[in-house]
Symmetry: C2
Subunit: 146 residues, 2 copies
DNA sequence: TTCAGTGCAAAGCGTTTGCAGGGTG
DNA sequence: CACCCTGCAAACGCTTTGCACTGAA
């Protein structure tokens, strides 16, 4: 856990700071969160933490392999801990509902591209479309993710 | 072709303007282009055309089903004509190369989600990963398309 | 003591919006 | 001649960057 953080940072000659611990903890607690949500969460617990620090830290954490991100909307990306099982997201363009699927659903795709030497980043995959509920209501909901 | 444009616009009580024709033509010629590239292309042929017009027009054209967009980078989206065969994009995170695949590569995925009532927007799908070339050179290239 | 990390403020990029004039149907 | 569309300019949301100070090792 956070030991991972300390260890991995050390390996890279990077430093362990309270902000880094807090931001990693926030991502783990929130499940899926945008930089802004992470910022809000962290600020809820502590004094001043800056947005730039959140961005810079999420980048570091991603390089260390502790968090990952996907794009579930055309706005800010969402980050999640790599301690979760890797999964694929299905996003309804109409109601914006996000469903997680086991990576097995893309196994054939992954194998097919692997045959060409292409290694798919499964955890980053977001599949857009229309969910069962919205298919009924026709041209449903609000906005328009991606 | 452009007849499509005129016809579809009429159906919706919308108007045919030179800008709309030019922008659609630009997307068809460019293959895959960002709003900015479309703007540059259109300006290359004609006088003043405004960025907002490009955005508004691409939105209209997409609603009319004449163009589609995907996200091949974490920057601007890329638009393409729906007259092309529908395809899936594989984007190398290292060298940014984009390869188009026939939609059959995602058929199993599409069927699996369809079983849950989820209709996948195949044309929008972008698969990120590392291509064969870059897998060799290890930690390759430049930027980092998300 | 050193140099990575942080906060702050400003800038950057892509996109959106309000408004008044212009052109299509 | 009604009303959609456009250009313009300002605003916006998210992210990045430069810089001087702070604090981890």
């Amino acid at each position: 856990m956070s030991d991972d953080l300390a260890a991995r940072l050390r390996e890279q000659g990077l430093r362990l700071t309270p902000q880094r611990e807090l931001i990693l903890a926030a991502v783990e607690q929130l499940g899926h969160a945008t930089p802004d949500e992470v910022l809000a969460h962290v600020r809820g617990q502590v004094r001043s933490v800056n947005a730039s620090t959140v961005y810079r830290t999420l980048e570091v954490l991603e390089e260390l392999g502790l968090v990952r991100h996907t794009h579930l909307s055309d706005r800010a990306p969402t980050y999640h801990s790599t301690r979760e099982h890797e999964h694929v997201h299905a996003v309804c363009r109409s109601c914006r509902a996000v469903t997680s699927y086991d990576t097995e659903v893309v196994a054939p795709l992954v194998e097919r591209l692997a045959a060409d030497g292409f290694t798919v980043d499964v955890g980053h995959l977001a599949v857009f479309g229309v969910c069962a509920d919205c298919a009924g209501r026709e041209t449903g909901g609000r906005g328009d993710p991606t």
